[in-house]
């Protein structure tokens, strides 16, 4: 029934701060995902918790007990590694019972456990098969079963679905969540797939350069990210520079140049402050723009991805923004150079203080 708490955890490799002052509490039975650019320290974080590496600084608590001196095999942790799959020369049964076996547990004790695991992941019939004879999806499920068999209470998953095709991956991710919830485990799941994180997690942690940028529920990260970095990394967003020209109790008006103004729900910003205004392409209304917050411009490009069309629009201030919509038969298509007007509800316009390091740096992945 573990709660995991990291206090100020740091890990350095030479000049690289792979984990830099991490503070994070994962509640008992919570399903938490970690996302962040390649190399930001996700695997390092998970390895710190597992006890595979030791932090240079800070402390990790599992159920309020410091685990600094608890070896990995006593942490009751199941670990599914990034890239490392099953033992190729062992069949499924041997793969699953490997952990208990090396710990010297007797056969009688291991057998029922293993049968239960095989049953749970619905591959009992394939227990004699070797990994290469199974589909990628089944192999991944076996890797999870192997991680769980040692009576783990905390499941650490490093890109558990990374090697699978989208269809299998989408199905397995829901199964994974169900499994964790049914077994009442706590899970920390590292993924490079934002959609995966959004769709199965209670909470998502966003990392950058060894640090936690913010953590929140999927919907709050998407609709009300605290930082421009998150707005850019999770989903897509338009970023426009501006200056606050007016504030009331509940709205701010931001001038984004060439006389164009956008209204937003009021945050902490004050008149004359330099700010960044952010809205998502899918929040831009292309067809029946509302009266407030209209933006007019010229279509620069129209891109298709399946049913979704993305219209790139150049505003009078020379900034280009994206607007997204489902391609549909009863609505007009767009031609390059055509003039269009879109609108964004003030509820969906976010305002951030202009970042000290500049916008480009604030959004940078590295």
């Amino acid at each position: 029934m573990p709660e995991v708490k990291l206090v100020n955890v740091s890990k350095r490799y030479g000049r690289i701060k792979a984990n830099d002052g991490i503070n994070l509490t994962i509640k008992d039975k919570e399903y938490v995902s970690v996302i962040g650019p390649s190399g930001c320290g996700k695997t390092t974080l998970i390895r710190n918790i597992a006890g595979i590496i030791h932090p240079d600084e800070g402390e990790i608590f599992i159920d309020e007990e410091s685990v600094s001196n608890v070896p990995i095999e006593d942490r009751r942790i199941g670990y599914v590694f990034q890239n490392i799959a099953l033992f190729p020369h062992m069949n499924i049964w041997d793969n699953i019972t490997y952990g208990p076996h090396v710990r010297g547990l007797p056969q009688q004790q291991t057998r029922p456990l293993a049968l239960e695991m095989l049953d749970m992941i619905k591959i009992a019939a394939r227990s004699e098969a070797y990994p290469h004879e199974l589909s990628g999806g089944t192999q991944q499920k076996t890797a999870v079963a192997r991680a769980l068999i040692s009576d783990a209470r905390l499941l650490l998953l490093d890109e558990p679905l990374g090697a699978l095709d989208v269809k299998v991956r989408t199905e397995l991710r829901y199964e994974l969540r169900r499994l964790v919830k049914d077994l009442r485990l706590t899970a920390l799941h590292v993924t490079h797939d934002q959609e995966e994180a959004m769709s199965i997690s209670d909470r998502v942690v966003v990392m950058k350069k060894g640090r936690i940028v913010e953590a929140g529920t999927p919907v709050s990260l998407y609709t009300r990210p605290q930082h421009t970095f998150t707005a850019n990394f999770v989903g897509e967003a338009n970023f426009l520079k501006g200056i606050v020209v007016e504030t009331t109790a509940d709205t701010s008006v931001v001038d984004i140049g060439s006389g164009v103004q956008l209204r937003a729900n009021r945050g902490k910003e004050t008149v004359d402050e330099r700010v960044i205004v952010v809205f998502r392409p899918e929040f831009a209304v292309l067809d029946k723009p509302i009266e407030v917050n209209r933006l007019s411009g010229k279509v620069m490009d129209v891109l298709y991805s399946g049913s979704i069309i993305r219209v790139m629009i150049k505003l009078p201030n020379d900034e280009t923004i994206a607007a997204k919509r489902i391609a549909s038969f009863d609505k007009p298509m767009y031609d390059v150079s055509e003039s269009v007007t879109i609108s964004v509800s003030p509820d969906n316009v976010l305002v951030y203080p202009y970042p000290e390091e500049g916008l480009k740096k604030a959004l940078a992945l590295e």
């Binding site: 990374g162 959609e195 769709s199 399946g306």
Partner: protein, 368 residues
């Protein structure tokens, strides 16, 4: 003349037919993406073109020349491994510049190209690191850089961006395409990411169990799938089983079990035929502005999942017809919730009509 031409290529591993009579022409300068389930034969295909695998039957031509007996290093095609194998004892720079060095390029050239690709994959400042010191995604980027820097004209890329976060993947796929076009290279790019294929490819090839299921423009693959499998595999689909009960110039009417009728624009089946109608979830509109027109159903939201940017709904119509819809969230405050009554609709022209498969529908669409 196509740059690469495969005629009747077959490759077996024991019982398994990994490639089954593959016919394919790749034009000079083309960017071809290959999609397919795990085990479909994608890696085998690339390795066969590279010369790392010898086909059991068929012929491979590169620039019109039969290359079945030409060794890999003389083919001007470089294969980038799915499970990136970097040289562990070499640092990033040496890994990347290895190809051009053994090609006897002059030092300046090696330096220019290696720096350029390292810049592109954003690892310039890690060029002294060894593979064991890099994260999973960084190792993959080094492997990609090494493939590009090899100087080969044909890039065979096996999941080159698979281990990277979505944001970086979007940036890199654009750069990759631009680089291929600028340098007048030709790329065959295997990916499991459909959006990646739809956004980067000139053409997409869908492989299934060793066979070419469909080759076409991205828009054709998505909107005019030739088979139930492609409809299901690319972008997912709702499937409805039924019979054609009426047909005229403007389309066909399909009777669906449970006494529903679906109108489709296609007219290439006969009245009485048992058929399957496929509709993409993204083509199913929730609470459309107008309730006139065809294929409008009332139902109840059974469940909804937020997937970041869009919302997936499961809607139950009447007493049992299930329709999945995927909608962009344009206003999160006004989204229908589970239990709520909604109207769903889809345009007849967005429906694909297929003959009912002999082996049954499930057999065609199962994922694993």
């Amino acid at each position: 003349m196509p740059l690469v031409k495969l005629v009747n290529i077959t490759k077996k591993f024991g019982e398994i037919i990994a490639l089954d009579n593959i016919e394919l022409s790749i034009e000079d300068g083309e960017y071809l993406c290959v999609l397919g389930q795990t085990g479909a034969g994608k890696t085998t295909l690339l390795r066969t073109i590279a010369g790392l695998i010898r086909p059991d039957g068929g012929e491979i031509f590169i620039e019109g020349e039969l290359v079945n007996d030409v060794p890999p290093e003389e083919r001007d095609a470089v294969y980038m491994f799915q499970h990136f194998a970097l040289f562990p004892h070499m640092n990033v720079w040496d890994n990347v510049s290895f190809g051009p060095s053994i090609k006897n390029w002059d030092n300046e050239q090696v330096k220019t190209i290696s720096s350029e690709v390292l810049e592109m994959v954003r690892l310039s400042d890690r060029q002294d690191a060894f593979p064991s010191e890099l994260s999973g995604g960084m190792q993959q980027r080094v492997a990609l850089a090494r493939g590009i820097a090899s100087g080969a004209k044909i890039l065979l890329l096996d999941e080159p961006l698979g281990a990277l976060d979505a944001r970086l993947r979007v940036d890199l796929r654009r750069q990759l395409r631009r680089l291929v076009k600028d340098q007048k290279l030709t790329a065959v790019h295997v990916t499991h990411d459909q959006e990646e294929a739809l956004m980067t490819a000139d053409r997409i090839m869908v492989l299934r169990k060793g066979k070419v299921e469909q080759v076409g423009l991205p828009s054709e693959i998505y909107s005019s799938p030739k088979s139930i499998f492609v409809a299901s595999f690319v972008g997912n689909a709702n499937f409805f089983e039924g019979n054609v009960i009426e047909m005229d110039n403007s389309g066909s009417t399909i009777w669906i079990r449970g006494d529903y009728q679906i109108r489709v624009s296609q007219t290439d089946r006969k009245v009485g035929d048992k058929v399957v109608v496929a509709v993409k979830p993204t083509d199913v509109i929730i609470n459309p502005d107008s309730h006139k027109g065809k294929n409008v159903f009332s139902g109840m939201v059974d469940s909804s999942t937020f997937v970041g940017g869009s919302m997936k709904y499961k809607v139950i119509v009447g007493d049992g017809m299930v329709i999945f819809s995927e909608a962009l969230v344009s206003n999160i405050q006004e989204l229908p919730r589970p239990g709520q009554e909604v109207t769903v609709s889809f345009h007849p022209a967005r429906c694909c009509l297929f003959e009912y498969p002999e082996a049954g529908l499930l057999k065609e669409i199962e994922a694993i």
